[in-house]
């Protein structure tokens, strides 16, 4: 069933155009890398604040309000460009370990974010301005940083298998 979907995806006109063109793949890949650097760079700013390493004089909610819209825009660009890259050789990518691991680690990063927003972040008004944050916030920040470094490593690894 899923194999049928992957084959169909590869045979769409867009996927065929990307795999046959000499410049479409590198072009889309450049956009993908650019978007990921902005996703990871902006998320790290928040993570490093949660860890108490950077930007300690800034209230957490203020920093998140300022940075996160840019993270989401960049993430949307990364997902779209990534889907296009994936479509050009879907069965191959789906069969590789780093691709599957990357999707899994990204899901974990999303889950970590959801848990943070549903629990610790609810009380941000009480602790958001302090320099040293509650342990739960520090753990979320550290996990997020580690998971996104994992996403970049696995993403780079996809190109070598």
């Amino acid at each position: 069933m899923f194999d049928h979907f992957l084959h169909w995806l590869e045979s769409t006109p867009i996927a065929v155009a990307i795999s046959e063109s000499s410049w479409l793949f590198p072009g889309i890949e450049s956009v993908h890398v650019l978007a990921i650097t902005l996703v990871v760079g902006s998320i790290s700013m928040v993570d490093l604040r949660l860890l108490g390493i950077n930007l300690r004089d800034r209230p957490v909610q203020e920093l998140i309000a300022e940075v996160l819209p840019w993270t989401w825009i960049s993430f949307a660009v990364a997902v779209c460009s990534g889907a296009l890259l994936f479509s050009s050789n879907a069965t191959h990518y789906w069969g590789t370990v780093p691709f599957r691991a990357k999707m899994l680690v990204m899901a974990l990063a999303g889950l970590n974010m959801l848990v943070f927003h549903a629990t610790t972040y609810r009380g941000v008004a009480a602790w958001g301005a302090s320099r040293r944050l509650p342990r739960a916030a520090r753990v979320s920040g550290g996990l997020s940083l580690a998971l996104w470094i994992g996403v970049v490593s696995l993403g780079r690894w996809i190109g070598f298998v």
Partner: protein, 164 residues
Amino acid sequence: MLDEFNTWLGATPLSLLIQKVLWIIPTVQTVHILAISAVLASMAMFDLRLLGLVGTRHSIVSLSRRFMPWLWGSLIVLAVSGSILIIGEPKRALGNSVFLAKMCLLAAAILLTLGFQIILKRDLAGGNTDLASPHFAAAKIVGLLSLVLWVGIAVAGRLIAYTG
């Protein structure tokens, strides 16, 4: 001349080690990309502030003090990781026109940043609390140019893999 240098560099023990141990290049590339993330995110925030689009309630000098250490620190990481990649695959980079273009863009971005820092320092030394208002127009041009240069550097970096 360059070919001979590349052949010599590619035959050094360090280069042979990087070529032989399969995980070195992907790992160093990952470190390189992470450092680029720090540069691009920091410079995007700073440049968008110079353009007056984001974070206008923060002074330019406070954002400069916040982000410039990340820029210079990351550039050191980028120089070291980039050098390892060049030593491992000299022909991929040194004989590549896109690599040369990337280095020119990098030099321009660094000079532009240093130039702006000098202007900012002079304004502060002259008794201003932030960038002086006669320099606001120049700051917008610097912000836009800097954004374009850093995006160009990242794109050129990825395209090195596809060009000769």
